[in-house]
Symmetry: D2
Subunit: 271 residues, 4 copies
């Protein structure tokens, strides 16, 4: 399979970057599926029906989320009703709207998408390793699923590295989100799982993690608030990873994708 | 000027990567100076006389540190006595061994190196922005210093992004360390400062941030300790950034460097 | 001198408890001065001109603050203009409205009031120990000041204990705030400083630290927000400490004060 | 029933305070059961066979623990083998030695003891509210259990308050530990559960939470380590709460206990 995953879409710049670059890329790379983390799609905080639709229309098959999952009151029913939207699987059982994983039929393949929130330096949901293990067991790679993607939305690189090794051989791709900065460590782990610590954000990199610099700099230097954070509005970068898998669902190739905006462009060569 | 900076050297694998790749690279790129973050050089925790010497012998002009600065009791006098070793500048004034910044004469250039520890999700030293500002003011770029390097040793990408913009136009390079993962966001900020959120570690990437995977995975899954962390001993990657500056000390080029080990290689082309 | 200090006034219940109990108590105990932490006086978040006036009218001589100092936009000018209102002294120098300490002439005595924010588990201001030391040095107990009060607004009991010993012999009273729960450890430290880890809040204890229980319980159990926090509105408790000092400004007596509301009453006996 | 609970026993001073004061107190108050938090009994860190036996010999029926549960390697088998020792119930299922709750027959009564670790500002175990709920459901107060005690070992007062209200009417006593400072907020919640935010430590209060002051003060002021923490060795205080319940297992009385050492003594009057 050929899959692309893109990191946290931040506001209009992020959505525009997806709309501008994804449709052509999808054809050129012959992608079987596209998954996008949309936790910051709506003005930087959460998701709405309209922002989700923009991303689906641009070519996303599945959307994942993160610590901003429920920031938009109107987004809660969207998450609860649309099976293509996946929120972290380690939210409490029984009370949380939506689903923490989903098995999708795309292009005749069975794609399992798991989203999980890290515990280190974040609000503490259930143990992310145990939660992911339960989802991996429910639809094993190679028997039930043709591709297993784990979006580990976490702060600490140690926890993301850990999730990679924890899933190694059981997932096709473990990719981090949340830091809003792409990492340059794409590789295939010893047992065949493609891994990159962070996909990076889709958004305007002339910013502080997608936000206009003025207010964050004020807070860092004066420790006082001057107003709200506002998303930066310059040209956005489409930022993510491209993965190919073999017959067993394990990875044969992983490469970063960065198109447009402030970052040096890198696009996989179709082979 | 032509400068290379390399991120957190982790144990023997990291030191070996530096020794294997740096000497040749230095000649090929015509580097005027080399700066290396050595906070994990001694078995993953801190620095010793011997490990510092290995890095100087391999071509380092200046070493920087981080939150592991004083982990090795015997390293404290080394840091205090060797002016080529710079520890974070926001440790308390008056009681802290060593220096938080240094102005070095290298190849006839004046090189200012500043090291600072972030406050977010870390032990809290003095305000990192105020501390860096004082150092920038003491040896301004363009008048006193030909090159100003800020190594921002921090956890949160927001704080590192923030330091980049805070120094934009006043530093030649702001580069992050501490996450042990290189970021793919090298760029020149609007006012001429080269920036990359993290240089990545020099060490074995078949690991959890440089450590054997077994113990961290045990702690993540069982919440119990089974022993100490031990540095991974496979082939290391030399990981960092290359920067060129013009007559005013601002950047004209920044590119990542990754050589050897588990990561896809990328080396700047001499021009 | 005879001094009373009361902890975080939370909303109307807290202000009402002060108004109901303080005026009589002041006379009965023959208090020379009353200091109140008012960081939650305005609806639980920050201070306004009106809420400050209520507390001054009820008998407060000086108000202190904490991490909620600047929550109310309209409170900022109040803090900046009224010298009887003291905010944490370890906010950044040069940019922060208001004062971190004040020397007050009350009943012919010189009263030094210092407010400081802890660093552990809190937003990180400047080192609280260094900041307090500077204030202690500026108006030493026994020569310049007749009474030195340090309100250490902090989360961790270790940091509050630490501030007590750090100031022991140099302050008349070190008292904690922020936890909204009174501690039962009032004592005089070896060198003469009266100490209690937390003064407790003035407010309705049938609550979660002063707030209606429903929303905090929802967040603890579901990890989702259902709305804002609202202050509990039942009968409040006046909660604080009473301290007597000798000629040298060191303490000869410290006792807790708890009047009204949900907690068992304890009031010092006039001697 | 008549029950006493004592907070974190810290080292020898804490154990000595228990041995000196508990036996007499047990007789005077006619206690049916004594429960002690022993997480710091062995030199400040964890528990050993010998330190556990000292506390059982002095009159403890059950010991609870906390974040230091597994600090002593030799303590792990003790915890696993002795059913009278209870560790936090929200450690991972399946891999953790020992038990998170226990139903004990004491003096002909069924006593349920639950220990749980908070999530806020601590290493993150499973959701403490969900874990406690499962234990409460397994042995309900009034039908299976005559007395239900919840030791909530947590940092944040909000989380401890929250656990009190969460269990109100379902537990006889919710009492906090971990802060090493007794709180002065003992009360009976609206539905009949006795509550105190922290029992306080059994140990030497002329200290920083039970440790000699020198090393913690060095770290607070210099941000450098000078050595290990050592337990303070002055006279200890026995510190805890006394609770009486009626026929339905709900509380009719709660009072603090503080005997010996640095704190003002308070002992319940037998009635
Ligand atoms: Fe995000
Ligand atoms: Fe996020
Ligand atoms: Fe490091
Ligand atoms: Fe570090
Ligand atoms: Fe407060
Ligand atoms: Fe506060
Ligand atoms: Fe403890
Ligand atoms: Fe503890």
């Amino acid at each position: 399979m050929k899959i692309a995953f893109f990191g946290d879409v931040v506001g209009r710049s992020g959505r525009d970057a997806v709309k501008r670059h994804l449709p052509g890329l999808k054809g050129r790379l012959g992608l079987d599926a596209v998954i996008i983390n949309a936790e910051n799609a709506a003005g930087g905080f959460g998701i709405t029906r309209a922002t989700a639709e923009e991303l689906f229309d641009a070519g996303a098959d599945v959307l994942t989320l993160g610590n901003h999952t429920f920031d938009q009151a109107q987004g809660i029913s969207v998450i609860d009703n649309d099976p293509r939207i996946i929120r972290p699987c380690n939210y409490p059982k029984g009370t949380t709207p939506g689903r923490g994983a989903g098995l999708f039929d795309v292009n005749g393949f069975q794609l399992l998408v798991i989203n999980v929130l890290g515990n280190v330096f974040m609000d503490t949901l259930d143990n992310p390793f145990h939660a992911v293990e339960a989802e991996l067991d429910a639809a094993p790679l190679g028997s039930v699923a043709d591709f297993v993607l784990v979006d580990v939305h976490a702060e600490a690189t140690s926890e993301k590295n850990g999730m990679g090794y924890f899933c190694d051989g059981r997932a096709s791709l473990v990719v981090g989100t949340h830091s809003h900065v792409p990492t340059g460590d794409a590789r295939i782990l010893p047992n065949g799982t493609a891994y990159q610590t962070d996909a990076g954000m889709c958004g305007d990199y002339d910013s502080i993690i997608g936000m206009e610099t003025e207010e964050p700099l004020r807070r860092f230097t004066t420790k006082m608030r001057g107003g709200r954070f506002t998303t930066a509005s310059g040209p956005g970068t489409l930022c993510g990873v491209y993965v190919e898998t073999g017959a067993n669902g394990l990875a044969t190739r992983i490469e970063p994708i960065r198109m447009g905006g402030q970052l040096a462009e890198t696009v996989p060569t179709p082979q």
